[in-house]
């Protein structure tokens, strides 16, 4: 199976100073050599040593496209284990695209998303959990998501799973050695011991698995809806949030024609803001079709930002909306603090439950937004994630395998309480062991035999 040569811009398309065009495959060096010259105008790339970097120019039809630094990494000592050339060119969308199209003009194919990683995986350069982390990295835009991807890459997940596997394997080996050599090794009193050990291992597995939902929030963002009666400042809030913190804003087409989802980075998380501002409003607010749709979004949201005008009396309409979202995760925003007195605000506060989070803001003065940002970040990250350094599962396949392991461990506990014979425990322990192995792309091989012989004294 010969692999063709592929190329892509490896850095985010933005106005940063440097962009990298990465090329990988059998013809990478030969083809880039054709479009790269050094200061003296010579094509030298086909004769340079691996892991060297060269100054020069990308040329096309005799014209200089860009001034570049080119690094050459020869197989197998590269990320993909193929020949890799990386062109460091000037940043900016226009220049990097021009360099890429020159590269593609040599017959090199544009890489599919994640194809470099796929090759790295297929060529055995990285294990499965690392490969998935790289794929996540490609799409992770928010900072928390990025850090989490990096932690996976560094092998934290790998190490954690290896530890769990090791613990399970030890128990299997013990049971198996006793089954194989019943006259030397006894299982008397063992089920009780195993029970508490398996409970611990299962707890850790479940904890890891439970991070998946939170992991999803980090990776995919918090589904957020801004609610409030007309003229309380919904649009102003939206405008401020989308402009806040020099956010990366991408437009994601909404599910219906009249909504747009705005992706906003706020501190370490994303808010996926459903803009209900565009929905037509009428005086009969609760019957209004637009509001009922807004309320429907609210039902599905992870977070509701409920805006009240603090300079006005809170009325029936506010309460109707509030009643609808009473059980939802929400933050009450008392807007227009620039127009209200603290007494007025306290009176409105009194209308809400003492458990509600209430933040005073002013869209005009732009006050209160740091508090809002910290509040959301705390609630969705550290507050629920226990600590910033916690390992979080963000990948569905990994989460499924962890569920599988957990399920198998549950079978073991059931078997123990049902008084099943010991050999049944090891069947399910083995399944858990295999599930862990699947996460890190390792199978069973001869691990078990080695463990049995090294840990337990058997035989005639």
């Amino acid at each position: 199976m010969k692999s063709d040569t592929i190329a892509a811009i490896a850095t985010a398309l933005s106005d940063s100073g440097i962009s990298i065009v990465r090329v990988s495959g059998e013809d990478a060096i030969k083809k880039i050599n054709d479009i790269f010259v050094n200061k003296k105008g010579e094509h030298i790339l086909d004769s340079v040593r691996s892991h060297t970097i060269h100054y020069g120019f990308i040329v096309s039809n005799g014209e200089t496209v860009d001034e570049v630094m080119v690094s050459v990494m020869k197989a197998p000592n590269s990320f993909t284990r193929e020949d890799v050339v990386e062109i460091n060119c000037h940043g900016g969308v226009f220049v990097s695209k021009a360099v890429l199209s020159t590269v593609l003009s040599t017959g090199i194919r544009l890489a599919e998303p994640g194809e470099f990683t796929k090759r790295a995986f297929l060529n055995g350069r990285i294990d499965l959990s690392k490969a998935e982390a790289v794929m996540d990295l490609i799409s992770a835009e928010s900072k928390a998501g990025l850090t989490n991807s990096l932690r996976h890459l560094n092998g934290d997940l790998y190490n954690k799973i290896v530890d769990l596997r090791k613990a399970v394997l030890y128990e299997i080996a013990f049971i198996e050695s006793a089954l194989d050599d019943p006259e030397h090794i006894s299982l008397e009193g063992y089920p009780e011991k195993l029970k508490s050990k398996v409970e611990d291992i299962k707890k850790e597995t479940d904890a890891l698995k439970d991070t998946f939902d939170r992991g999803k929030i980090i990776k995919e963002g918090i589904k957020t809806v801004i609610l409030g009666k007309p003229n309380v400042g919904k649009s102003s809030l939206l405008n401020i949030l989308t402009g806040y913190d020099r956010a990366i804003v991408t437009d994601v087409a909404g599910t219906t024609r009249d909504t747009i989802e705005e992706r906003v980075s706020l501190g370490d998380v994303f808010l996926n803001l459903t803009d209900t501002a565009g929905i037509r409003e009428s005086s009969d607010i609760v019957e209004n079709i637009g509001v009922s749709r807004a309320l429907k979004y609210a039902d599905e949201a992870d977070l509701i930002l409920f805006i009240v005008d603090s300079s006005d009396e809170a009325d029936e309409e506010d309460l109707k909306i509030y009643k609808h979202i009473e059980d939802k995760k929400k933050i009450v925003l008392l807007n227009k603090t620039d127009l209200s007195t603290s007494e007025e605000r306290d009176r409105i506060r009194g209308m809400f439950s003492g458990n509600d989070d209430i933040i005073e803001i002013s869209c005009t003065d732009r006050t209160g937004f740091d508090e809002l940002k910290d509040k959301i970040n705390n609630d969705f990250l550290s507050g629920r994630l226990r600590s910033d350094n916690e390992l979080v599962i963000t990948n569905l396949r990994q989460a499924e395998k962890l569920s599988e392991a957990s399920e198998s461990l549950k079978h073991v506990l059931d078997a123990i309480s049902d008084g099943m014979p010991e050999d049944f425990y090891s069947i399910d322990l083995m399944n858990a062991y295999a599930a862990y192995g699947n996460i890190i792309g390792e199978e069973i091989d001869d691990d078990l035999a080695n463990e049995i012989f090294s840990k337990f004294c058997m035989g005639k």
């Binding site: 055995g124 089954l179 010991e422 005639k460």
Partner: protein
């Protein structure tokens, strides 16, 4: 130097079996029974089916092998049923999958009895001779075996050869500083055949194993040991043996322990152990460690078990299980005499280690035929296994497949989901075993399905089709199978009402009462209720033989687990069916990692499942291989 070149005597037979140990006996009986003129060669007629190490047949997972071999039409099970002196079902407190039968043999009776079977087998000739040369014809892929030459110069032309040389090839025995160039128990080694095999392009390696001392019964004080009895009701190994015929008086074994004093002596003399002094180059088995190994590797263990087992009814020799050693004689005496009950022991035969040539088994197909020489089959310890049962199982399969080759039929290959024998052979030819391979229940992924009690249900049919199982024996299995199915269906169909009589019965037996009608099968699933107990609620129950009830109970009680294993087997079979073309060029698959490519080139697996079990081949490599294979098959169509 002898000169045998003037002997021009030539014989022509169908199949030559080299070696008459447990593998050779099964192979030769099988091919003769299938109608092929067979000669079996042994360096000594008196060593036919000899047991040079432990005096028992079976044990955990090995008992499974014997049962399977018997279901296929092998001889070992029948022979031990005739000659055992104690029998025990091991692991009875555990699940049915790990119950294992083990019998103490009367060693000399076992040998004599097997010899009698061989001597009376039609189409089979026994010949006392050492084979010194393998004859082949053709080159490269058309190379095939044509015959063998004996040490006296006689040539036997044949169409297939089955190598079952055990531990005899260039054997050397070590007992401390004393080295003798003999096979086990001082028997003549086979020193010439290795060179002929190498000349024919066969790669050999060196393995090592060992055996403990034998002691004079009269010098042992059994009062200081725990007596170990056989089972009250003996279960025979063979499905053809009448269970009543094996109920007889049994002899006892004895248990004692080593102590700190023993260990001190061993540690002080390690420099005189050929293994620790580096004299032995062969690799020894970890599961059957010498007492030196145990003391060194498990230094924190205060004592190790020692089993004193009789070698037969008419001998005073006792086997000292658990204390195999290659220490010199004086150290052996000192160390054995520290063990309670052995203070005054006299050694009849010293413990020793033995080193021998054996095959690099990646040269074998799953049929046990060599990849490079057509018609050359290998079995037993020569293939890098250990144990009488492992050897016999391979011998039978090699015998079956050599015969089928001569008939122009496809080989019989048992896979890992069908039999322990399948696991054994797949492991031997696919994995890199750096020590003699012993069967273990943990090696069988689907062991809940591969029970020793259902070997007949799994394999009798194959044995019958091959021609080794009689119509009569096969008919028994067919009936048994039908009775099992009928009884399971009946138990699932009979509903017990939630009335007072039933609820009282359940409460009396520590089981929770019913709220609604429940089937007998569901009640049987409760751990506290047995089939016998439920008779009270089951007046219509037919009278069924014990082995039928056993199957019914297992299938119902463990249904959930059995179902899950069956599902796994289905997944496994899919990959197993994916054949890899014989002429595949792994160098053409560029994305394969170098290590994986080397391993695949070395083992040349026959299917993707086998490829996935080669150590060093990762799941990622298998994905690459699968992608390549699907591309190839597209190209062809």
């Amino acid at each position: 130097m002898t000169d045998i070149s003037r002997n021009e005597w030539k014989e022509k037979v169908d199949i030559c079996v080299i070696g008459a140990g447990h593998a050779g006996c099964e192979a030769a009986l099988c091919s003769a029974r299938l109608g092929f003129e067979t000669v079996i060669f042994t360096v000594s007629i008196d060593s036919i089916a000899m047991m040079p190490c432990n005096p028992n047949i079976g044990g955990t997972s090995k008992g499974h092998l014997v049962r399977e071999l018997d279901a296929l039409g092998g001889e070992m099970g029948k022979n031990i049923d005739k000659t055992f002196i104690q029998s025990k079902m091991l692991n009875v407190s555990k699940g049915p999958a790990v119950h294992s039968l083990r019998a103490q043999a009367d060693k000399s009776e076992y040998t004599r009895s097997m010899r009698r079977v061989l001597e009376n087998q039609e189409h089979l000739t026994i010949k006392q001779a050492e084979i010194v040369k393998l004859l082949t014809d053709g080159e490269g892929s058309s190379k095939k075996v044509t015959g063998v030459v004996t040490n006296t110069g006689t040539t036997y032309m044949c169409d297939a050869v089955i190598l079952c040389t055990g531990t005899y090839l260039k054997a050397r025995c070590l007992c401390g500083e004393s080295i003798t160039y003999t096979g086990p128990s001082g028997l003549q080694a086979a020193n010439s055949l290795s060179a002929s095999l190498i000349e024919n392009g066969i790669a050999l390696r060196r393995f090592k194993t060992g055996t403990p001392a034998r002691m004079d019964k009269r010098s042992i004080d059994f009062s200081k040991m725990e007596e170990q009895f056989g089972d009250e009701r003996v279960v025979p190994f063979s499905f053809s043996t009448d269970p009543e015929s094996v109920q007889k008086e049994q002899v006892s074994c004895y248990l004692t322990y080593t102590n700190e004093e023993t260990h001190k002596i061993i540690r002080a003399n390690l420099d005189r152990s050929p293994i620790y002094a580096g004299v032995i180059e062969g690799t020894g088995p970890r599961y059957c460690p010498s007492i030196e190994d145990k003391v060194v590797k498990f230094a924190d263990k205060e004592r190790h078990q020692v089993f004193i087992e009789p070698e037969g009814l008419y001998t005073n020799e006792m086997y000292v299980g658990g204390m195999s050693s290659s220490l010199p004689e004086d150290v052996q005496l000192k160390m054995y005499r520290t063990v309670p009950g052995l203070e005054n022991c006299r050694i009849v035969r010293n413990a020793y280690a033995i080193e021998y040539d054996c095959l690099e088994p990646n040269q074998l197909l799953l049929s046990l035929e060599t990849k490079n020489i057509s018609g050359l089959f290998c079995a037993g310890q020569f293939n890098g296994s250990s144990g009488y049962e492992e050897a016999a199982a391979q011998g039978l399969m090699a015998g079956i497949n050599a015969s089928r080759k001569l008939k122009g039929l496809e080989p019989v290959i048992l896979d890992r989901s069908e039999a322990y024998i399948g696991v054994l052979i797949d492991d031997l030819v696919t994995k890199e075993n750096n020590e003699p391979y012993r069967m273990m229940t943990s090696r069988a992924e689907y062991r809940l399905l591969l029970r020793q009690d259902n070997a007949d249900l799994r394999l009798r049919k194959i044995g019958h089709e091959v021609g080794l199982v009689s119509d009569e024996d096969y008919e028994k299995t067919v009936i048994k199978k039908r009775l099992i199915e009928e009884e399971i269906a009946r138990l699932k169909g009979v509903i017990v009402g939630a009335n007072k009589r039933v609820c009282d019965f359940l409460e009396e037996n520590g089981s929770s009462p019913l709220h609604t009608g429940t089937s007998l099968a569901e009640l049987l699933c409760r751990p506290e209720l047995s089939y016998d107990l439920l008779a009270f609620l089951d007046p219509e129950r037919p009278k069924l033989p014990y082995d039928v009830v056993e199957q019914v109970v297992t299938e119902i009680k463990y249904e959930g687990y059995i179902l899950r294993q069956r599902q796994l087997v289905e997944k496994f079979k899919k990959v197993e069916k994916r054949r890899i073309p014989e002429d595949i060029d792994y160098d053409d698959i560029l994305s394969l990692r170098i290590e994986a490519r080397q391993k695949l080139k070395k083992f040349r697996p026959e299917n993707v499942g086998q490829a996935s079990r080669i150590s060093g081949v990762t799941p990622a490599d298998i994905s690459v291989l699968l992608i390549y294979l699907s591309k190839e098959s597209k190209n062809e169509t």
